[in-house]
Each structure stands twice: as structure tokens, then as C-alpha cells.
């Protein structure tokens, strides 16, 4: 009898699985209810999380900064020289824009959010943000940090939302290389690196070249930094090139993000 009771117990989650599979709206409602209920705990725990972050990354950063002081000084000089060059370029750019009668694009509406949780599945890269539909977040809003593109909003609940990051296997972004203008699709492979797929065989891509969003599709605007090309090889089918991309965003260290809404521009 005891043994059979164990099997009955197994029936409970299976029944729940069938029920929620049959009624996905009910599934979403339960998720929304859970996150609304658990949000205060997550917000409190995110304070603890930031403390651990500081302990893990910033204490090591202090020692690195001391040892790299000379290197940084040389780099600052180099960058100052580049800055003068960029000032010239900016002036030239402004002149050319006026000539072509370009209108300055409207800025997107932005919402800042804090990462308060992460998905527990090892290969999934989905984070929980502390803002939701009550803070004007919408599905498919673009998520960025100063280093570049992070991902997009996947699900929105009243007080929280879930953002899918670029390394997630279910995230796809249309991209192009900055110098050679080769187009491809950026996809996650379950590791910290990204893959740029479907590159043309005759594309002349250099190692270290920047990869940016191409603006094709309705979600991501053109020109957001994604990463740098690390290696290139032929795809398994032999019809395309496949590049490994080192993301410019340190996905394991994201604490705050900016969500951009371009829907009003369209």
C-alpha cells in the first residue's frame, strides 16, 4: 500500500503538467501571481546578491587596477589622440548629414530596471527584472547596457518581467559585421560565446571585427554593439561560414539594464 502511495504522489505533478499544458493562460496567470507574491523577497535578496557581486568582482578588480595602472595610462594617451580624430569625424559627419537633409532620429523611450533573479536551467539565459507592465515595460522591448545589446523582454507581468539574453539558445538576432558588412544571424549556444550563422562563403571577415545589429526585423534597431569575431570556420553543411563571437556584454555580471521602446518611432 505504501509503495502504491508513492506512485499516487507522482500522479499529482503529472496531472498539473497536463492541466497547464492544456490551459497555457492559466500557466501564465500562476507565474504572474507567483512573481507578484515573491517580488519583495527577490528585491531584498538582490541586495544580498549585489553584496556578493561586489565581493567577487570588485575586490579582484582593485588588485587588477593597481597592476594595470601603467597600461591604462598608455591607453588613456592613445584614446585622447583618437578622441581628437573622432571630433574631426563628428564635425564632418554633421556637415554630411545636413547635406543629405537627414533628420535626427527620435530617441527611444527608456525604462531602467534591475536584475533580481535568473533562470535556474543551466543552459537557459533568462533574467528576472524588477519592473513590469505597471512600469510601462512591454514584450519585445530591447534590453541594453552601456557595453551593448543584452537581449529583449520575453514576458511581462505586472511588477516583474523576464528578459531573454543573447546567449540563450532561443534568442536570435539579425546582425552584420561592422567593416565587411557581412550579414548573419547571432544565436546562443549554451556557453558564454555566441555563434554568427549563415554568413556568406565569400564574406571577407577579419578576426576581431565588430558585430552589430543589422536592424532587419521589427525588434532590434540597427547599430547596437553585440561583440567581436573570435574565429571563423565552415558550417557543417559547407554552404555558409560560421563565426564564433565574443560578446561585448559580460552577461554574468549584469546588474542594471536599460529597456528601450522603439514602437513609437515606427
Amino acid at each position: 500500500m505504501r509503495r502504491w502511495r508513492s506512485y499516487y504522489f507522482l500522479a499529482v505533478p503529472v496531472l498539473a503538467l497536463v492541466l497547464f499544458f492544456q490551459y497555457p493562460r492559466f500557466n501564465e496567470a500562476i507565474h504572474a501571481f507567483f512573481y507578484t507574491l515573491a517580488r519583495p523577497a527577490f528585491v531584498i535578496a538582490s541586495g544580498l546578491r549585489q553584496g556578493f557581486y561586489a565581493l567577487r568582482y570588485e575586490s579582484a578588480g582593485f588588485f587588477n587596477a593597481v597592476s594595470k595602472q601603467k597600461e591604462y595610462r598608455a591607453r588613456i594617451q592613445e584614446l585622447e589622440t583618437q578622441l581628437i580624430h573622432y571630433d574631426d569625424m563628428e564635425r564632418e559627419n554633421a556637415r554630411l548629414k545636413r547635406l543629405l537633409n537627414f533628420s535626427k532620429p527620435l530617441g527611444a523611450r527608456t525604462v531602467g530596471a534591475r536584475v533580481i533573479g535568473e533562470d535556474l536551467t543551466p543552459w537557459k539565459k533568462v533574467v528576472v527584472l524588477d519592473k513590469g507592465s505597471r512600469h510601462n515595460l512591454k514584450k519585445d522591448m530591447v534590453v541594453v547596457v552601456p557595453e551593448g545589446l543584452v537581449g529583449r523582454i520575453l514576458e511581462v507581468e505586472p511588477y516583474t518581467s523576464r528578459a531573454i539574453l543573447l546567449p540563450d539558445p532561443d534568442c536570435r538576432v539579425s546582425a552584420l559585421t561592422s567593416a565587411s558588412r557581412a550579414q548573419g544571424i547571432i544565436a546562443g549556444i549554451g556557453t558564454e560565446k555566441l555563434q554568427m550563422r549563415y554568413l556568406s562563403l565569400d564574406a571577407e571577415i577579419a578576426l576581431g571585427e565588430d558585430v552589430i545589429t543589422s536592424g532587419i526585423g521589427s525588434v532590434f534597431p540597427k547599430g547596437l554593439q553585440i561583440g567581436k569575431i573570435e574565429s571563423i570556420e565552415r558550417d557543417g553543411d559547407g554552404l555558409h561560414l560560421l563565426a564564433l563571437v565574443k560578446p561585448s556584454v559580460p552577461f554574468s555580471k549584469i546588474e542594471e539594464v536599460l529597456c528601450l521602446d522603439f514602437s513609437q518611432q515606427k
Binding site: 507565474h31 539558445p169 549554451g190
Partner: protein, 171 residues
């Protein structure tokens, strides 16, 4: 052994879920981090025995489902099924074998991850990616099982009891 419907157990479940979702990712190594809810199921199997393991596995799975954002019931079913197998193995295993608890926790966490992968992407993933994901699952299982002595200490502290078991890898 505490009563399962006590505030202490419910609060501990909630604490582990919140830690799993917020704090544990900070300790990630190459993108993988341990799961305290998996450890709680193994702890229940080793310390509390058969009927309670199923209860713990079900609630741990349900919490992971709720935290994960996918279909509710997938992890709960997987963990309850694996808890049945774990209970069976705990009754049969040679408890004096060094590292046996570590090995069983590893196998439990690895099987849970592999079944989750199967449930999520059955037949859809290219072979090269399957190996990537299995690698991540194995690393997660290794990391999780390495935390067993610490988790045992923490859980015993929470429930105010001392363990009779030796969780170290070697003795």
C-alpha cells in the same frame, strides 16, 4: 525530522528558491551555478527517508517551475520521478562506500538536468549543441554535489539537529 507542513520547512523552501534565483548565479563558474533545491531533495532522501523525499521533490520541482517561467509541472514531475529512484537507491546502497552521497547527488542532479533538456528540446537540437548542454548539466551537477557538505551543515543548522552522516568525499 521536522513536520513537513511546519512554518520552518515552508520558509526554508522559499529561502532556497530565492537563493537559487538570485544569489547562486553570483557564484557561477563558466556560466554554471549550483542548485540548492536539488540538494534539498537529496538531503531529504539521505536524512528523512522515502515518503518525505517525494514531498520535498514535488515542492522543489514546483518552485523551480515557477522560477523558470516554463510549463508548470515539468520539473515537479521530473524531480518526483527521480526522487522515487533515489529513495530506492538509498535503501539498496552501500552506505559505507566513500563518496557515495556525493556520487548519488551528482547522478540525481545530472539526471534531472538531462531529463529537463529532453523535455524542452526533444529532437530539436543539433548534436553539437546537445554535447554543449550536457557539458553544462554535468558541470552543474558536479558543482551542486560539491556543495553537499556545506548544505548539510546549513540545513542541520536551520532545523536545529546534528547529522549522523559523513558527507565528505573521502574519509
Amino acid at each position: 525530522m521536522p513536520r513537513l507542513f511546519s512554518a520552518k520547512v515552508i520558509l526554508y523552501f522559499f529561502l532556497l528558491a530565492v537563493l537559487d534565483g538570485t544569489v547562486m548565479p553570483v557564484f557561477q563558474i563558466h556560466g554554471v551555478y549550483p542548485s540548492l533545491l536539488y540538494l534539498f531533495v537529496c538531503y531529504a532522501a539521505f536524512e528523512w527517508g522515502a515518503p518525505k523525499t517525494l514531498f520535498v521533490a514535488f515542492w522543489a520541482g514546483l518552485l523551480r517551475d515557477l522560477l523558470g517561467g516554463g510549463l508548470i509541472g515539468v520539473e515537479a514531475s521530473i524531480l518526483t520521478l527521480l526522487a522515487l529512484a533515489l529513495d530506492f537507491l538509498v535503501q539498496k546502497m552501500e552506505k559505507a562506500l566513500p563518496g557515495i552521497y556525493f556520487i548519488m547527488t551528482f547522478l540525481f542532479a545530472f539526471s534531472a538536468g538531462a531529463l529537463r533538456l529532453l523535455a524542452g528540446y526533444a529532437g530539436e537540437l543539433p548534436a553539437s549543441l546537445v554535447w554543449n548542454y550536457l557539458g553544462a548539466i554535468a558541470m552543474t551537477a558536479l558543482y551542486t554535489s560539491a556543495l553537499l557538505p556545506f548544505f548539510n551543515f546549513m540545513t542541520n543548522g536551520w532545523f536545529g539537529r546534528s547529522s549522523r552522516k559523513q558527507y565528505e568525499l573521502f574519509r
